[in-house]
Amino acid sequence: DQQVKQNSPSLSVQEGRISILNCDYTNSMFDYFLWYKKYPAEGPTFLISISSIKDKNEDGRFTVFLNKSAKHLSLHIVPSQPGDSAVYFCAAMGTSYGKLTFGQGTILTVHP
């Protein structure tokens, strides 16, 4: 039962263009959403988060959008840089404190 889904296993983008990573969830009890970035042989690092009371949160080149009615969130990276190449995980948290439910991840490759 995959409660958080990232349907695109990979995404390839040209440097300077926008990267859009998508995530869908099924559990309506989720009220806090996060994006993590992971390089090979390293643990995931926190990127940006959004509470269910908001529909947008921005931090520099990274913006997360939340559409609660569609149970969908997306991460926009503008402009994309080669150093952004990594695996991006969407995660969600609900009433179970501490328990993050992760998607399968999307491999982002940014070409120079």
Partner: protein, 115 residues
């Protein structure tokens, strides 16, 4: 300051053997979490600690899995009678508290291979 550390970084074991994985959280973090990532999949929650108490053990895959934490410090995840399906990267994370807005900081993981 130092981040979350895990040891060993890699562990190869034979089916049926017991293994012990170690996590050193960030100093002062009261909450500690264990996840695992099987090949091609997302991270799967296993267990969390608030201090040395584990209120919810329902994420542990079977009774072969157990975890403990000493005070608000080191945690060990033990897998008894390992099976091939236990092969995965086991990740530990810590956060200052259990509040959802507290960032979970992850260690580099232990890659477990069961032959």
């Amino acid at each position: 300051g130092a981040g979350v550390s895990q040891s060993p970084s890699n562990k190869v074991t034979e089916k049926g053997k017991d293994v012990e994985l170690r996590c050193d959280p960030i100093s002062g973090h009261t909450a500690l979490y264990w996840y695992r990532q099987r090949l091609g999949q997302g991270l799967e929650f296993l267990i969390y600690f608030q201090g040395n108490s584990a209120p919810d053990k329902s994420g542990l895959p079977s009774d072969r899995f157990s975890a403990e934490r000493t005070g608000e410090s080191v945690s060990t995840l033990t897998i008894q009678r390992t099976q091939q399906e236990d092969s995965a990267v086991y990740l530990c994370a810590s956060s200052p508290t259990l509040v959802s807005t507290d960032t979970q900081y992850f260690g580099p993981g232990t890659r477990l291979t069961v032959l």
